[in-house]
């Protein structure tokens, strides 16, 4: 439970169950490492946004690689991934992957069972918030996490609102370093 107000007010708190705001990348890392079948869902903003001149998509690849997390490419992300030499493990649009994740018996993108932690990164915040609402209400079998610099009330775990990109970059880089560390 958190009283944090989202940066984008379109994501207003509209209920009683809201995301745990986590500022410590080590805690995020721990949650990711603890997951048995995590999934990283990548959105089209990763192709637009950059931190210090480095496209956010590259950070996403590093996160996936560091923790061996399968990638689901949404919207038109797949083409750019392939250009960058990374093949996504699956290609679904956001509503499609969420529709599949809702089903506890879904086989998952690796055909090893549904995922227990789904990490969303690079989806426009109002759209992502609605998608997270679906999973909050209809997918009690999994947890959700976001990596964008906004607070997402409908996720289980969210970053706080981060005003300065340097701080966000530091979070992501520390998280990557943390994921690379062996237990």
């Amino acid at each position: 439970m958190s009283a944090t107000v989202p940066l984008h007010r379109v994501n207003v708190l509209t209920g009683i169950k809201s995301a745990r705001q986590i500022e410590d990348p080590a805690e995020y890392g721990k949650l990711i490492k603890k997951a048995k079948r995590p999934l990283l869902v990548l959105g089209p903003l990763l192709l637009k946004w950059s931190l210090d001149g480095r496209l956010l998509m590259e950070y996403a690849f590093e996160i996936a690689k560091s923790a061996s997390i399968p990638i689901c490419a949404t919207a038109h992300v797949k083409g750019k991934m392939i250009e960058a030499g990374v093949k996504p493990d699956s290609e679904y649009d956001v509503v499609e992957i969420i529709n599949a994740l809702k089903d506890p018996d879904w086989i998952g993108v690796k055909k090893e069972g549904n995922h227990d932690l789904v990490i969303f990164f690079g989806i426009r915040s109002d759209f992502a918030e609605q998608g997270l609402s679906v999973l909050k209400h209809f997918a009690p079998h999994l947890k959700t996490m976001t990596l964008c610099k906004f607070y997402f009330p409908n996720a289980d775990y969210s970053l706080p609102n981060i005003r300065k990109d340097e701080k966000w970059k530091e979070f992501i880089e520390t998280l990557i370093a943390n994921l690379k560390e062996k237990e």
Binding site: G15, K17, H76, M81, I82, V95, F127, Q130, K136
Partner: protein, 769 residues
């Protein structure tokens, strides 16, 4: 026994209303259907296209039991759960939308009946004999006069009351039944729209039975600011038609400028090609704040609730012309005209005037008197820079922007570098809500700064032409149902876009590929707001015919009924299937054989929800833009797992096609690129011939390669039935892929139908023509 008597009485009443004894076609199974009558059809659709809910809120706040927390399987005090609550909200949205169109129809019908009498014949020109496909299909009535349209309106009124009743606290406890009711409301909406638009065409003499309608001016830059300017905003054309008449009768048309925003603008240009379209809904607040309009006239629906405040700030006079929005203004309908004018000019008072003729006269006279005093200049770039320098880049504007822009960056670019490029770009993308300005702690007039930067470019738009002609349907019916015209794509709805240029690009892409493209409402406006290198927009580049590669503007919001109407016409005119009170057969034909798809990229209104849901019941899939996730509900399938069985009507056997066509009924895309590949897929139908399927897959693959970055779609194999379905251009590549995944050919279905796969009174034979 008493129940049987009641059923018999009801049936007799329906037979009387629809003149069942007129044998233009036999009366089908569902004349004037009530809530349960098409429920089995709905349940069949919902079995494959399951409702997908994205709750906007964890709570229900509708009654005094609450607020009730509906998280984690909790139920409200009335027993409702979160899914059912979402479905109830969807039903309410559809009812609001349906009510708007139907009440619009009722108002305009009363107005026109007063003018022309109830016996005025419905005549849509020599190319249109099937004048009212929705009314004929749903009610079983062939309307012959304006008075007959009232039967349709009154039927919709009655059904709306029953549907609204069901949304009361408690009662309905099934989300599927709420969805069935929402689908019912959506279907009724198309009846209400059709009654409204037929009345308008007949009563106002709008163009009909013609494709080549006039080209009219579009864009706020097209308004001649040297003249008195009257701005009409909303949807109801009674007042704008009266203004035109008054100007014509008094020889003033050259002296006064009439422009419109939203659908009233489109209606005004159907009545007079000298009226101008200022722009879509997203330009409303911006234009109001320019102060260009001397008189603003609001009617109904998509008008701002704060228009009186904005009018006063801009120094414009305001007349509210309909009871739907009277803004607390004094009702001057009975007041002497000269006294109203005096008070508006001298005391700057706003009024409600519910007599369209009187409102028009007042508007013209007031505009002519106050125009000379209007301040016609805007702030200079230098002044804009001065205002921008007050910005502290606090980020509040960004927090509230529904389109998630960094407005602050645009403002600081002006302040620091005297660079207006970013704010100009933001103006183009702006959906015009004004929240940024409201929130600014430094009270920076962001819209004023945007005025300085905004392009004054203008364009041409073809005015709305109403129904698709029967002759056009005869020409294209075979090609659409065989698949050789790859699809009919309708870009409809409002202007809550992620990017305003998307629509023009999408229209261009599909017109170029020889789809039939239909546009309406605000989408029809923004479709024209982009020029190519030669300075031409889509209306200047593509023919206005309902044919491969044509771009057809049907008109305003209520003209959307002509899109659903075209699907019904294909079944009735081309396939010769009786439509009278035969909704299931028409809908089944559409979903099985008519490759049509709607795109409501900027949908915001409850009307858009109703229109889309009506299309869904008729078997037309709809793609929505990212903002539309806030409608809370989609209809999605899981393509590899859902029920794709159909009846093969030729052999009377149920066949599992395993083919997800169409894959979804209501779907949201995040980006334009994704829409580009979703449209061709949603136009695939089980009835496609090998040649037609190959054409459709050719577009699916080539658009996938263009917008998704190469390769083949991962679900391609689901749509290839036999080798002949593979497009020649991609034969080699697709064969390699199919071999890799061990694809096996399937027999196409002779005559696919959903009839026979669910309990219905409709015999399978009724789909055979």
């Amino acid at each position: 026994m008493a129940e049987l008597k009641e059923i018999k009485r009801k049936l007799e009443e329906i037979e009387r209303l629809i003149r069942a004894e007129d044998l233009w076609e036999p009366v089908g199974h569902t004349p004037m259907p009530e809530i349960p009558d098409l429920r089995n059809w709905d349940m069949r659709l919902l079995k494959t296209y399951k409702p997908f809910y994205a709750p906007f809120c964890d709570l229900c706040c509708l009654c005094t039991f609450g607020k009730c927390d509906l998280t984690e399987d909790r139920r409200g005090a009335c027993g409702i759960d979160i899914a059912t609550q979402q479905a109830r909200m969807v039903l309410l949205a559809c009812l609001i939308g349906c009510s708007c169109h139907t009440a619009h129809g009722a108002h305009i019908l009363d107005y026109l009946i007063e003018k022309h009498g109830p016996d005025k014949k419905i005549d849509l020109g020599r190319m249109i004999e099937l004048e009212a496909p929705n009314i004929r299909t749903v009610l079983g009535l062939k309307p012959e006069t304006l008075g007959d349209l009232k039967i349709a309106i009154e039927y919709v009124y009655k059904e709306i009351t029953h549907l609204l009743d069901s949304a009361h606290t408690g009662q309905e406890g099934s989300y599927l039944d709420f969805e069935s009711k929402a689908l019912h409301a959506g279907m009724l909406d198309h009846v209400g729209m059709e009654a409204a638009d037929i009345a308008q065409i007949v009563g106002f003499g709008y163009p009909t039975s013609v494709a080549e309608t006039p080209m009219v001016d579009l864009g706020w830059g097209a308004i001649d600011r040297t003249k008195p300017v009257i701005l009409v905003v909303g949807h109801n054309p009674a007042t704008s038609a009266e203004i035109t008449d008054y100007l014509r009768e008094n020889n003033l048309y050259d002296k006064v400028e009439v422009g419109g925003i939203c659908c009233t603008a489109l209606e005004a240009t159907r009545y007079s090609d000298r009226a101008k379209v200022v722009g879509p809904l997203s330009r409303q607040l911006f234009f109001l704040r320019t102060g260009i309009a001397d008189v603003i006239m609001t009617d109904e629906q998509c008008i701002r609730a704060d228009t009186p405040i904005e009018a006063s700030k801009a120094g414009s006079a305001l007349i509210a012309t309909l009871d739907k929005a009277m803004y607390g203004l004094p009702d001057a309908t009975e007041m002497a005209t000269e006294e109203i004018i005096k008070q508006m000019v001298e005391e700057k008072k706003h009024f409600a005037i519910l007599d369209p003729g009187k409102a028009a006269e007042v508007a013209v006279k007031v505009a002519m008197k106050i125009a000379p005093q209007r301040k016609k200049e805007w702030i200079s770039e230098e002044e804009a820079k001065g205002l921008a320098e007050r910005c502290t880049d606090c980020g509040m504007c960004e927090r509230v922007c529904p389109n998630l822009f960094s407005i602050g960056d645009g403002i600081t670019e002006i302040a620091k570098n005297n660079n207006f490029d970013l704010i100009r770009e933001q103006f183009n993308l702006c959906i015009g809500c004004g929240k940024c300005e409201q929130e600014c702690p430094r009270e920076i007039p962001i819209f004023k700064i945007m005025q300085t930067a905004a392009s004054k470019e203008s364009w041409k738009i073809r005015s709305g032409r109403g129904p698709i002609m029967d002759t056009e349907i005869r020409n294209v019916g075979a090609s659409i149902t065989l698949g050789t015209i790859p699809g009919v794509v309708a870009f409809v709805g409002c202007s809550n876009y992620p990017d305003i240029e998307d629509i023009a690009e999408m229209v261009e892409e599909f017109a170029r590929r020889k789809y039939i493209v239909v546009v309406s409402g605000c989408a029809a406006m923004v479709a024209g707001m982009k020029k190519d290198a030669e300075g031409k927009n889509i209306y200047e580049k593509y023919p206005p015919d309902f044919d491969a590669g044509g771009v057809v503007n049907v008109g305003s919001c209520v003209a959307n009924c002509h899109i659903s109407g075209a699907a019904i016409k294909i079944a009735n005119i081309f396939a010769s299937l009786p439509l009278r009170a035969n909704y299931e057969v028409m809908a089944d034909y559409t979903i099985s054989r008519v490759g049509a798809c709607g795109v409501a990229w900027g949908a915001y209104s409850q009307k858009a929800a109703a229109i889309a849901t009506g299309c869904n019941r008729l078997g037309i899939p709809v793609i929505l833009g990212p903002h539309s996730a806030k409608y809370r509900r989609l209809y999605l399938s899981r393509k590899e797992e859902d029920d794709w069985r159909v009846m093969d009507a030729r052999i009377k056997k149920i066949v599992d096609t395993k083919e997800p066509s169409p894959e979804h009924l209501a779907y949201v895309c995040e980006t334009k690129e994704k829409v580009m590949v979703t449209i061709p897929k949603l136009c695939i139908r089980k009835n496609d011939t090998p040649q037609g399927r190959a054409i459709k897959l050719n577009h699916y693959i080539s658009l996938y390669k263009k917008y998704m970055g190469g390769g083949l779609p991962e679900d391609l194999h689901l749509f290839v039935r036999r080798d002949a379905d593979i497009p020649i251009v991609y034969k080699k590549e697709v064969r390699v892929y199919l071999k890799e995944i061990d694809w096996k050919p399937k027999e196409p279905v002779g005559l696919p139908t959903m009839i026979g796969t669910y309990p219905t009174k409709v015999p399978v034979d009724s789909v055979i023509h």
